[in-house]
């Protein structure tokens, strides 16, 4: 029984891969699990493993060639097995093609009433059968009330979204709006890693309107200047205790952010188009500049890790990122991210949200700054942070409350050990 070797999706976002190197020549004996080839994805070089036993009969994609996910790149088969039929189809894409909705061709026949009474409308098609069908009126109403038609279930023929469906979606908004206010307690429920919050009408409207005004992610920015004097003093005290206590200011910031996020699930969230996912765990992404570009490895459960663990993990992840050694699972799954350009002497900047996350915190440089404290001019270590917020999820006050907590922690870093 022959086994087809396909270009596999080796990262969550991979759409195509470059076959860097075949690790086995044609004719080699292969066991399931053997590394057949190295494939460069959009993020890293990954291994393509055998999913069957036999002889690597054919390599259909040459080294250095980029192939779409799903492309047949090789065949494993018994030595005497006829694989001509398999190979001849190599040029054709092998990814499953979604057939066009069968109902589409049937619908027009119902639109003319001839001598006989009109036929009953076709049953609603599954939502996955293609683009959302909708009446022109439903489209206009949805546009006017900021409804995402794709999120509305159609009750018309072949699942057509019609006026009443949009109206139901609009009036349904009021009922679910109260749910979001109850959210913090819901998020606190033990044992679940996250809570899915269906989009309320107001949420949908905000999302739609803001997206139209600013682009795919309607972002706004909150900037705050923190007094980092105590945090710097704390770091200095720790470093003085020896190498094993050596942490960076950035580690302290990561710890503070993670701790604050744990208290603010409303910013620790993913925008999923038809719903918002609020996380009860904090997986903190940290932007790392590499020679190839930006990558964001993740400190999982950062809120539950101590400062030392965070310091160790952040150093280790950054190092492997620069060597392109990160595995996909190490750079996906973050719930919120931090980007720090302070070491580059950037005073303040805005970072781009890494979707589906809804926020990212941009850390500026520490500066000696004259400030007035209790009526006296003093020099303090000050640092500007700017939080980019996806307005579809995070409103201004919500982001501000998070930053207020973050400020308390960084300006009173002993809270971090509490």
């Amino acid at each position: 029984m022959a086994t087809k070797i396909f270009m596999e999706a080796l990262s969550p976002t991979m759409e195509e891969g470059r076959l860097v190197k075949w690790n086995m020549p044609e004719g080699a004996a292969v066991k399931s699990g053997d590394v057949l080839a190295e494939v460069e994805t959009d993020k890293a070089v990954m291994e393509l493993v055998a999913r069957g036993n036999g002889i690597l009969r054919r390599q259909l994609v040459a080294e250095g060639v980029t192939a779409a996910v799903g492309t047949l790149v090789g065949v494993i088969a018994a030595a005497d097995e006829d694989i001509a039929a398999l190979v001849s189809g190599a040029a054709a894409p092998t990814a499953a093609v979604t057939p066009p909705a069968a109902a589409a061709s049937a619908a027009p026949t119902a639109t003319s009433t001839t001598g006989a009474p009109p036929a009953a409308p076709a049953p609603p098609a599954p939502a996955s059968s293609g683009p959302t069908r909708s009446s022109p009126l439903a489209r206009r109403l949805a546009r006017e009330s900021g409804i995402d038609l794709g999120a509305v279930a159609g009750s018309g023929p072949a699942g057509r979204v019609i006026k009443r469906d949009v109206e139901a979606a609009v009036s349904g908004g009021g009922a679910t709006a109260s749910a979001i206010r109850r959210l913090p307690s819901a998020i606190g429920a033990a044992g679940s890693e996250y809570t899915d919050q269906p989009l309320t009408q107001i949420r949908k409207t905000i999302a739609k309107r803001l997206a139209e005004s600013i682009g795919p992610i309607p972002t706004f920015y909150l900037t705050a200047e923190f007094d980092m004097t105590r945090a710097v003093e704390m770091r200095a005290a720790m470093v003085a205790q020896g190498e094993e206590y050596k942490v960076s200011v950035n580690d302290i910031i990561l710890k503070a952010v993670a701790t604050a996020l744990a208290a603010h699930p409303e910013v620790n969230a993913h925008w999923l188009g038809d719903k918002i996912r609020f996380f009860n765990r904090v997986h903190l992404g940290m932007a790392v500049a590499t020679d190839d570009g930006l990558i964001v490895p993740v400190i999982f459960d950062a809120d539950r890790k101590g400062l030392r663990a965070i310091a160790h993990e952040s150093r280790e992840l950054a190092a492997r990122a620069r060597e392109r050694k990160l595995k996909p699972e190490e750079y996906t799954g973050s719930t919120f991210s931090v980007s720090n350009l302070g070491m580059m002497q950037i005073d303040q900047f805005t970072a781009i949200i890494n979707p589906p996350e809804c926020g990212i915190l941009a850390i500026g440089a520490l500066d000696d700054t004259p400030v007035v404290v209790d009526g006296a001019l003093v020099i303090r270590k000050r640092m500007r942070v700017t939080m980019s917020c996806d307005h579809r999820v995070i409103d201004g006050a919500v982001g501000a409350r998070f930053l207020l907590d973050l400020r308390r922690m960084l300006e009173n870093p002993l809270m971090l050990v509490f």
Partner: protein, 326 residues
């Protein structure tokens, strides 16, 4: 208000206009001594004499042309076709002469003529006598086409048609002559080119004309009991069509059914649907449906004839379909 038949209403219109303007005369088969095949011209010969109520030989092409020629020379003929089925013999005079004279003479010769007669299927008259010609005639620039469904409309429209300085085709319903309705004592005219809202509703528009207006009103009354409220737009004049009335109604109801007596292909409904999709696209919550005669020559057999015709049941089914209530 007096209640009279459609036939009497037409008769009143003819009598009043002949009395008003001595250039008006009526010509056709059996219009005089016989008082009209459908008695529309009853009593007119007696009142106005044979110079103005002219029995013609059975020669539609000839007397239609005589009508056009006399109109070019200053008269205002009313040409009666015993039925519009027979008018096919005269279609050259309607289309090539009456409709084009003004244009091809560069505006010099208008043709103030009325071609009128019963149109559409009656009962078991068979294929050659059961045809609705609205779309044939409304296709032609240079003529106006009216199709009244009630006695009130019949009188008001025919009087306006006779006074109009253009060729006007009046399609009367063969099945309507005996229907009754209120017609005021005082003189009135119904302007050509204006539709009439026969029922007011918010849920679905039915756009129709002529005999089918009665069907639409029945549909509206029946559906009202199911809390479905129909806006019935009776076009009255098919050419020029009151498109604004259609737009206003469809923008309100967001759903439309076009009901006509004739065949589907290139029918009046096709034109109405085109107007709607062009001007009301963003207001539609459902495809516009059409109800019309089956796409066959009219059969004689009673049962077959019944299912060939557009009717109340088919119209209700179409309304419910556009309302997603099936």
């Amino acid at each position: 208000m007096p209640i009279i038949t459609y036939r009497e209403a037409l008769n009143q219109a003819l009598r009043e206009e002949m009395a008003r303007d001595d250039r008006v005369y009526i010509m056709g088969e059996e219009v005089g001594v016989y008082n009209g095949a459908y008695k529309v011209t009853k009593g007119l010969l007696e009142e106005f004499g044979e110079n103005r109520v002219v029995d013609s030989p059975i020669a539609e092409l000839g007397f239609a042309g005589i009508g056009v020629g006399s109109a070019m020379a200053g008269l205002r003929p009313v040409i009666e076709f015993m039925t519009w089925n027979f008018a096919l013999l005269a279609i050259d005079q309607v289309v090539n002469s009456a409709a084009k004279m003004l244009y091809m003479s560069g505006g010099q010769f208008n043709v103030p003529i009325v071609f009128r007669g019963p149109n559409g299927a009656a009962l078991q008259l068979g294929a050659q006598h059961s045809q609705a010609f609205e779309s044939w005639l409304a296709h032609i620039p240079g003529i106006k086409v009216v199709s009244p469904g009630t006695p009130y409309d019949a009188k008001g429209l025919l009087k306006s048609a006779i006074r109009d300085d253009n060729p006007v085709v009046v399609l009367e319903g063969e099945m309507l002559y005996n229907t009754k309705g209120e017609v005021p004592d005082h003189e009135y005219l119904i302007p050509l080119g204006k539709a009439d809202r026969k029922r007011t509703g918010t849920d679905c528009s039915i756009i129709t004309s002529g005999k089918m207006a009665l069907v639409a009103m029945q549909v509206a009354d029946l559906l009202a009991k199911e809390d479905i409220h129909i806006d019935v737009i009776d076009l009255l004049t098919i050419r020029p069509m009151d498109v604004e009335a259609i737009y206003e109604s469809v923008r309100k109801t967001q759903r439309a059914v076009v009901l006509e007596e004739g065949w589907e292909v290139c029918g009046i409904g096709a034109q109405v649907v085109d107007y709607i999709q062009r001007e009301c696209f963003d207001h539609l919550d459902a495809p516009v449906l059409r109800v019309h005669q089956a796409d066959v020559p009219m059969p004689y057999a009673k049962g077959l004839e019944k299912i060939a015709k557009p009717d109340v049941a088919k119209t209700i089914a179409a309304v419910k379909q556009v309302m997603y209530r099936t």
